[in-house]
């Protein structure tokens, strides 16, 4: 089992989506519609709850037929996939989600089979773990830095570039004084939170078969 790489956990969850012929639109479409408008910036549930580096939600509506001579087969359920890369241990992470963003979790997983709701923290954790798949091989480019460390480092880097650029050729005594002040101020500066400064999406069609 390879759910962890260093201090980062790679969670994969497949939750069966309710198949109800009476539902209009169907539950998978309701999930898609909700996710299409869910905030991806600092208002994202994954930004509000602690620990997530990157995460995705995907409605997997079927397996894919690759053509002859393979056999064509289809799933009986559609599944909601959660792929998340976060700090620390699974129970804490799931508990943190349940504590912080129960409404959003319910709005999403409320369309899944046997979902108990996030209000019952332990039941939520147990449910998610029942849907968990073990990762066979996990790769993380950086696996020894927490999310707060990372956000801080990114903020620091921008500030350091500015500082160096603005202090070229300065006399040592003054440079030292300004550096000490810079570090002191940097410590007090608020660090942009997770998901902040998101970028509007702009996609062009491009090099097909390039």
């Amino acid at each position: 089992m390879a759910n962890k790489s260093g201090s980062v956990y790679g969670l994969t969850i497949l939750s069966p989506i309710i198949d109800d012929e009476m539902a209009t639109p169907s539950h998978d479409l309701q999930i898609r519609a909700y996710l299409a408008t869910l905030a991806t910036d600092d208002k994202s549930p994954f930004a509000l709850a602690p620990g997530t580096h990157l995460a995705r939600l995907v409605v997997m509506d079927d397996v894919i037929y690759v053509g002859m001579p393979a056999c064509e087969e289809h799933l009986k359920s559609k599944y909601l996939v959660l792929e998340s890369n976060f700090d620390g241990e699974l129970d804490n992470y799931l508990g943190g989600l349940a504590d912080t963003v129960p409404q959003q979790l319910d709005a999403i997983w409320g369309h899944c089979v046997a979902y108990p709701g996030a209000a019952n923290r332990q039941a939520f954790i147990d449910y998610m773990k029942a849907c968990q798949l073990d990762t066979t091989f996990y790769f993380a480019a950086v696996n020894d830095k927490s999310l707060p460390d990372t956000l801080r480092a990114l903020h620091t880097r921008s500030a350091v570039v500015d500082f160096i650029a603005d202090h070229q050729g300065m006399a040592p005594a003054r440079l030292q004084a300004e550096f000490i002040q810079f570090v002191a101020e940097l410590r007090l500066e608020p660090i942009p939170g997770p998901g902040a400064m998101a970028i509007p999406r702009d996609i062009k069609t491009g090099g097909k078969d390039e």
């Binding site: 991806t40 894919i64 009986k76 890369n85 066979t136 440079l175 970028i199």
Partner: protein
């Protein structure tokens, strides 16, 4: 629906495997996991933030009762999830150009896998077995894997210099500061918006 958020691309792929082949693949992953030098190529491909492969046996799809029907499948499935920087074509091209042997060992057990070289049939296959992401979140939309690594280096160097900054004479500080700038000088790129994806 979007596979893209800022500087990262979320790829999902699913491919069918005959169940007896799954065991060979599992064996390969065990070796890959234990022998770190084999992972070096993945590390050197500096545009991957996180990636994972999940072998999903046909009888292990989560089953929760409550009216859910049990899956009846002939194939096991290989799920692949990647978070990478740059363009889709660049990513697949790079895989094909420098990781083809490793990739073939991973995907050759999947039905109809054409091999990762030449690249066009490989791209056609990936495009076919890729399914799109409905919702994609990243805590740092303006950073790439390279930016993260650089930022941590800058942070560590700054922490070291600032620990002693007060104790130095101005001349000593000037010397230490120059050493600091040289330590971080290869890691000072700006973070910002990603180019338009194409």
């Amino acid at each position: 629906m979007s596979n893209i958020n800022g500087k990262v691309y979320a790829m999902n792929a699913i491919t069918p495997m005959k169940p007896w082949k799954t065991w060979i693949l599992r064996g390969f992953f065990v070796v890959l996991g234990r022998v770190k030098p084999l992972q070096q190529d993945l590390i050197n491909l500096s545009f991957i933030e996180f990636a994972r492969w999940v072998v999903l046996p046909r009888k292990r799809f989560p089953y929760l009762g409550n009216g859910q029907k049990r899956e009846e499948l002939q194939y096991d499935y290989l799920l692949f999830f990647s978070n990478f920087n740059g363009t889709w074509n660049q990513y697949i091209d790079a895989f094909s150009a420098v990781l083809s042997r490793g990739l073939n060992l991973i995907w050759r057990w999947s039905e109809k896998f054409p091999g990762s070289v030449p690249v066009t049939p490989f791209k056609t296959y990936i495009a076919r077995v890729q399914f799109d992401t409905d919702y994609y979140y990243t805590a740092y939309p303006r950073a790439t894997a390279n930016d993260l690594k650089s930022a941590h280096i800058v942070q560590a160097s700054l922490d070291t210099l600032s620990q002693h900054a007060q104790d130095y004479t101005p001349a000593q500080f000037a010397e230490a500061y120059l050493r600091f700038v040289i330590q971080v000088q290869a890691h000072l790129g700006e973070t910002g918006e990603a180019p338009v994806v194409f």
